[in-house]
Symmetry: C2
Subunit: 349 residues, 2 copies
């Protein structure tokens, strides 16, 4: 018997979701195309250019450089790699918030750079004074997160841009999760708001593309050049990506997802998710749990470990934050009914 | 109008191919599952364990460690990364054949290790004496290729194992393309033939899985440990992969492809591809072209650049080797009729 794919009816902590129907259809058609070899597979290469253009529109960048990556980890790693390669320092470092995704730990190991983590403030955004204290002439890139993985917080990106400029470092924004909801908020997070050099934005998270579809964007061609490796026996002369063969399904799915949803369906998606997050935050607070208020559609609450485990036993896919809180990510597949059912299960414990 | 995916009817130089129908079906079902988060998506995690077991069977390794990577580039990079991380040297190097895939150049840049390339001999296999000359106490890993990208050659893996042992380095085999045809030949290439530590084998090449499905295998758990990064807020404690979110389509597709074809359909695939390669080699040789004889189902011939460009204009997806030869990779989608049509087009020039 064939195993069944995951049903999303009880998935609450994942940042992946059910793909948009158009995106699924496009992905299925392009499962065998390799955008890593654009001369042999020109149709998917065209789709990738269109996807990157659309991602530029979403992130405030005319004439964007970049590509559809395997996900936020690759995009973050590539940002650090480009910054390291462009740095004059013999011993380059990266300054990032302690709230940054663990892919920066992975990037530091892979790329052999020092990672300096700056503490966050009372609202869980990075403390800019601490970033300034950690940044120095060897800093290759300053990282800000626009929608943190655990609490959905948006770091003060323009202020981080000032720090980066002062030490002559690049500025990278990790909007892997937040990028498809932030355009409908007042946050300053993108290329138009600050001197952002590179940015991660994942269509396969809030964008409702199928996996694997990340976005790696850069303002200047020099960043892509710093990543390029020569490619004999492929007609294209060089390759700036981390992987070689890449997913046509991800590229075609990303382009179809954005084409179908940007901007109106994404706006509705944000508004529904935010309303759901506020509803569940209130429901949990009214039951006496300490709740981290949702700035974006993501709630954390200090539900005891035993209760989280009871929810897991009941089939809920919930995983705690590093601090042990229950974490509910209001992705597009998460409905009010699911959240009501979650709260009812908590009440019944 | 939606663009069409690539038709494989004239694709001759790609190492990707049309997926097996069972693999396509499995991939479509698991497009939204993330094997990078095995607690939330346990079904696809089970499929990945099964895929890795099957890859171990194909490569002569009981109890294999590893995972389904995005492709050969990631698997090669991870092999070098593990070796670098396990090395005692402050300045580790990699010794690889000059015929190695360009992903080793990419790995060297990403991982900041020195890449030493050993020349090949008259039959385009690496010269073991040159490898021995280049390897030293700072060598972290010796690389052999089992099925080179340009000429389909198999390096003398056991002899490379001797060199690696003598300098206390790991031995990595890149069988990304060759791994699904070599089991039906007399070549010595896998974990059972030599003290191989790590191996790349891509289901999405000769294995007929959809993209992205590479295989990264290791004999010892220590290799995976050397790649592990801690993962807060995922239930699994650490992650040895290069990317974070990963393709459920690739994992489910790889497992279904191998389950459906290993070993008999893969044997037939090899025999048909090899016969096709020998047929086109003879056809080209009889027309006066210098032909690099196919050891595996891959032919190169010194067709002039102008004629290759004329074939490209006629819709053939052919790309030359670095030396400028026409390169025909006899993938499962390549039929005798396609090759007859190619030769007829050449004759008509």
């Amino acid at each position: 018997m064939q195993p069944a794919p995951q049903d999303f009816g009880r998935v609450l902590s994942s940042m992946c979701t059910e793909p948009h129907p158009d995106a699924r259809e496009a992905a299925e058609r392009f499962l065998a195309d390799n955008p890593g070899d654009p001369t042999t597979y020109p149709a998917v290469a065209d789709l990738e250019r269109e996807a990157v253009e659309l991602l530029g529109e979403i992130t405030g960048l005319d004439d964007p450089r970049g590509y559809v990556a395997s996900g936020g980890t690759e995009a973050n790693l590539q940002a650090v790699r480009a910054a390291r390669n462009l740095s004059d320092s013999p011993d380059p470092n990266v300054v990032a918030p302690e709230s940054a995704h663990f892919s920066f730990q992975k990037a530091a190991d892979v790329l052999d750079v020092e990672l300096r983590l700056a503490p966050t403030d009372g609202d869980r955004r990075v403390d800019v004074a601490e970033v300034r204290r950690l940044a120095d002439e060897d800093t290759a890139v300053v990282v800000g997160v626009a929608g943190t993985t655990e609490y959905g917080r948006v770091d003060p990106i323009p202020a981080l841009g000032d720090v980066a400029s002062d030490v002559d470092a690049l500025l990278h924004v990790d909007a892997a999760w937040g990028g498809f909801v932030l355009p409908f908020t007042d946050h300053e997070w993108n290329f138009a708001h600050a001197p952002v050099d590179t940015l991660a934005i994942d269509p396969h998270k809030m964008g409702r593309a199928p996996i694997p579809a990340g976005g790696f964007l850069a303002r200047d061609e020099a960043v892509l050049d710093a990543l390029a490796v020569e490619t004999p026996y492929l007609e294209s002369a060089s390759q700036p990506t981390l992987t070689g063969t890449r997913s046509g399904a991800g590229v075609a799915g990303a382009r179809a997802a954005i084409d179908a949803q940007w901007p109106e369906a994404y706006r509705e998606n944000y508004e529904r998710g935010q309303a759901n997050a506020e509803w569940v935050a209130d429901a949990l607070a009214s039951r006496g749990y300490d709740v981290v208020e949702p700035v974006l559609p993501l709630v954390a609450a200090d539900v005891p470990r035993g209760e989280i485990e009871a929810l897991q036993s009941a089939g809920w896919r919930v995983s705690p934050t590093a601090a042990g809180e229950l974490r509910v990510v209001c992705m597009p597949h998460v409905t009010r009914e699911m959240l009501e059912s979650l709260v009812a299960d908590l009440d019944a414990l």
